[in-house]
């Protein structure tokens, strides 16, 4: 073990102090990325416990496992924690933070102290929201629909709303930081169309964060104000309009789905090309489709409201735009698949996560075509069909990408390898567990089981039992990586600078990188993903 340690580089970013101060006052994007990693892993664990409660309750149709109040607080806690405190920051705040400066050959982000500030804001927002959830709880659903949240809810709505409002600023600042960094700090020769697709995806994500988050922040603040001071923004008895809330909320919260999925798509693009050892197919199309998703994604929000009473014609406009936003995602999927063609495909853990991602995201995306369809949405919306659909996107897509990325860059982040066979087993568990959890929910939804039901008619029980069984497997699937990745920190074999033979500037520096990333500013002379440079390999071999 000692000898293993000795083969890690003598100087790297983790060696600059291990005391609390060296972490809490750091401006190193890599350390901040790790601090986010720990924070969001904790939030993920809390969100998963809530999910466990939900699935436990739904084992029986009569709701006898929990009270209705407790169940409502459990699914609300699950949604709030997972969406606002895990999924939205997940890839950008951890991998994005860590990798963007490395990928563009920079020393750090453009505003290192703002980067640290955004972590503190996140922590304050998360702490306040957790305090609200644990003292009295929240039972509005993560969507905070009015007038329920402003007039009828009997829980800590205002405190939780303020917590989410605060956390929003963390997201805005991260987005701003990325945009400026990508514009101003690229290494010489790193033109826009030489950028890794991971960076393109984060650029598109950042635009959504900066433009969208203020809207939801204000909206949710209005909810808190209406609740505390009885303004009439949304309460119809005070002249407000509850539907206005839905417009404002979804104006952000639909694009927020792309905040969750776009970075994941960026990860997939990086992994698929590396593990096929081949230039990505249709680079420009993948890069531009990220921007297209960010742009069109702002125009589809009202497809969440087809049954709330809008006119037929406005519904048609939003349905058409919804179909349009599906196209860039389809383009990406086709290009990833085409990248495999005549490649040299290596079945390592990150790549297995890519296969899982493509398989599951495909189901999530294609079921979106059911829900974007006016005639079908009437029957399917607010049922388990929609629950299954967005979990296929957010868990099957976003989290698969996150796990794939975490495994892919783990050797870079820590300098050590995890045990590959464990990685494979856990990806299999996650895949099987996930499908068993959520596929039955499509059927449940089509049969008509509404979401957010504490008790349900008996004929839905078998499918619910299957779903809970799947969730149990999924839970183990998630505990696995947590344990073997932690294990690798202590016992993992040193990985070397570039264990996968990957392209990209982050692989040209040592693992773990030094605090200032590169000893000298790299100069880029190659196209992106310039694989198959045979002469180099022969020289090495």
């Amino acid at each position: 073990m000692t000898s293993d340690r000795n083969t890690l580089p003598a100087d790297h970013y983790l060696k600059h102090g291990w005391d609390l101060k060296s972490w809490l006052l750091t401006t190193d994007h890599k350390r901040i990325g790790l601090m986010y990693l720990v924070s969001i892993t904790l939030m993920f664990a809390i969100g998963s416990l809530y999910a466990g409660l939900v699935r436990w309750n739904l084992l029986v149709p009569d709701g006898s496992h929990m009270s209705a109040e407790a169940y409502n607080k459990a699914f609300t806690g699950h949604g709030v924690v997972m969406v606002f405190f895990f999924l939205i920051p997940s890839i950008p705040a951890t991998l994005g933070n860590f990798l963007i400066p490395l990928m563009i050959g920079a020393k750090d982000l453009a505003f290192p102290r703002i980067n640290l500030l955004s972590w503190y804001i996140y922590i304050v927002g998360a702490a306040l929201t957790m305090w609200a959830l644990l003292t009295g709880g929240l039972e509005t659903g993560w969507t905070f629909y009015t007038p329920y949240s402003t007039v009828f809810a009997e829980s800590n709505v205002a405190v939780a709303a303020v917590g989410i409002f605060i956390a929003g600023f963390s997201s805005i600042l991260t987005g701003l930081n990325f945009i400026v960094t990508i514009h101003k700090m690229r290494a010489p020769g790193l033109t826009w169309f030489r950028l890794p697709l991971f960076v393109w995806a984060h650029y598109a994500t950042s635009i959504i964060q900066v433009l969208g988050t203020p809207v939801v922040a204000i909206t949710i603040l209005l909810v808190a104000l209406e609740r505390l001071f009885h303004f009439g923004f949304f309460d119809p008895n005070r002249g407000g309009d509850p539907i206005l809330f839905q417009h404002l909320f979804w104006f952000y919260s639909h694009p927020a789905v792309y905040i969750m999925i776009l970075p994941s798509m960026g990860v997939i693009s990086e992994i698929v090309t590396c593990f096929s050892r081949k230039r990505i197919f249709g680079y420009t199309f993948i890069a531009m489709s990220s921007l297209a998703i960010a742009a069109i994604g702002f125009l589809v929000w009202a497809h969440h409201m087809f049954v709330s009473g809008m006119t037929v014609y406005s519904a048609m406009v939003f349905s058409a735009l919804t179909y349009l936003v599906a196209v860039p995602s389809a383009i990406k999927t086709f290009n990833w698949t085409a990248t495999l063609f005549r490649g040299s495909v290596q079945w390592d853990t990150p790549m297995i996560y890519v296969f899982c991602f493509i398989g599951l995201f495909l189901v999530g995306g294609l079921t979106g075509l059911f829900l974007g369809n006016l005639g079908l949405d009437v029957h399917l919306t607010d049922t388990y069909f929609i629950v299954a659909h967005f979990h296929y996107i957010m868990v099957g897509g976003a989290i698969m990408g996150y796990l794939g990325g975490l495994h892919f860059w783990w050797p870079k982040i820590t300098g050590r390898n995890y045990i590959e066979s464990w990685g494979k087993v856990s990806s299999l568990l996650v895949f099987v567990g996930f499908n068993l959890t959520f596929f039955p929910q499509f059927v449940l939804g089509y049969l008509g089981m509404p979401r957010r039901y504490h008790a349900y008619p008996e004929e839905f029980q078998i499918l619910n039992v299957l779903s809970t069984a799947g969730a149990t497997i999924l839970g183990f699937g998630y505990i696995f990586p947590f344990s073997y990745l932690t294990h690798s920190l202590l016992r993992g074999k040193p990985a070397g600078d570039n264990p996968w033979g990957a392209k990209g500037l982050e692989w040209t520096t040592q693992s773990p990188p030094k605090t200032h990333n590169f000893d000298e500013v790299p100069v880029v002379t190659e196209e992106p993903y310039h694989y198959a440079a045979e002469h180099e390999d022969h020289a090495r071999g």
Binding site: F355, N373, G375
Partner: protein, 331 residues
Amino acid sequence: MSPAFPLAPERASSVAPEVDALFLFILGVTGIVALGIWVVMLYFAIRYRRRSEDERPPVIHGSLALELTWTIIPLLLMGVMFVWGSKVFFHLSRPPDDAMTVSVVGKRWMWKLQHPTGQREVNELHVPVGRAVKLVITSEDTIHSFFVPAFRIKKDAVPGRYNLAWFQATKTGAYHLFCAEYCGTEHSKMIGRVVVMEPEEYQVWLAGGPAPESPVLQGEKLFTDLNCITCHRMDDAGRGPLLKGIFGRTVKLASGEEIVADAAYVRESILTPAAKVVAGYQPVMPAFQGQVNEEQVLALIAYIESLRTPTPSTPAPPAAARTQARGASTR
């Protein structure tokens, strides 16, 4: 009621087969696409798996022809889905003219329904098979959603708004009625059933129980009880606008705007009259917000709507009803 492990919901309304055909079409198209991509992906992943560390695949940058192909074909397929879906949605959104109107008021945590003949029900709706039923849906508190899976219909009950839905049941039986919009603690208990009966049975069912008043009569009674009649006289000499024939017409407001006097406007004018005053009148009417519940508002609207058609004479309803109304008011 249904098998232990069903894979499709019961199909009991005229629109349900249309929705299901659309569902199967999209399921078929997306199923083929998904299967195709999975198979191709796995085939490539296995066929081109790395066999030696020295492998150097060819450089392929992409193909504009392929990009266009897999952009345009999905667009065309989705175009078909969009048009078909919109067609079904139009059908779902347009109740036939001869539909019987049932008013639906959601209230935490129950559904209150009233038939055109005046019968009231809670969490149960009896309807005749083969007859189009129009639902006028609102809520007394927070947002609910009226959902009958077997009919493939769902519509939010939004406080302060009247949303429309309709169905025509095609099969007798009892079907789930759910609240589909989360509304608090007992959300999952806000359920009931729709009982579809043969028309004769429905008549028998209607005849059972005490003879109710129709919403129009109830509205007229309220109109007197609440002293609306003092200002909204049946000649145009009252302090308030003449209501006869006003429903559905365009009226000019004091602000200069014009508005159609529909159910939503009448409701607003009862609850918060000062919001949109008709030109030529003073904003002197007291607000009835909190004085009348949603069902009473619906009855008043039904009454005002009944004044639209050229009434035989003033006062419109039969004397017996008025006597009954006065009797009730003295109670």
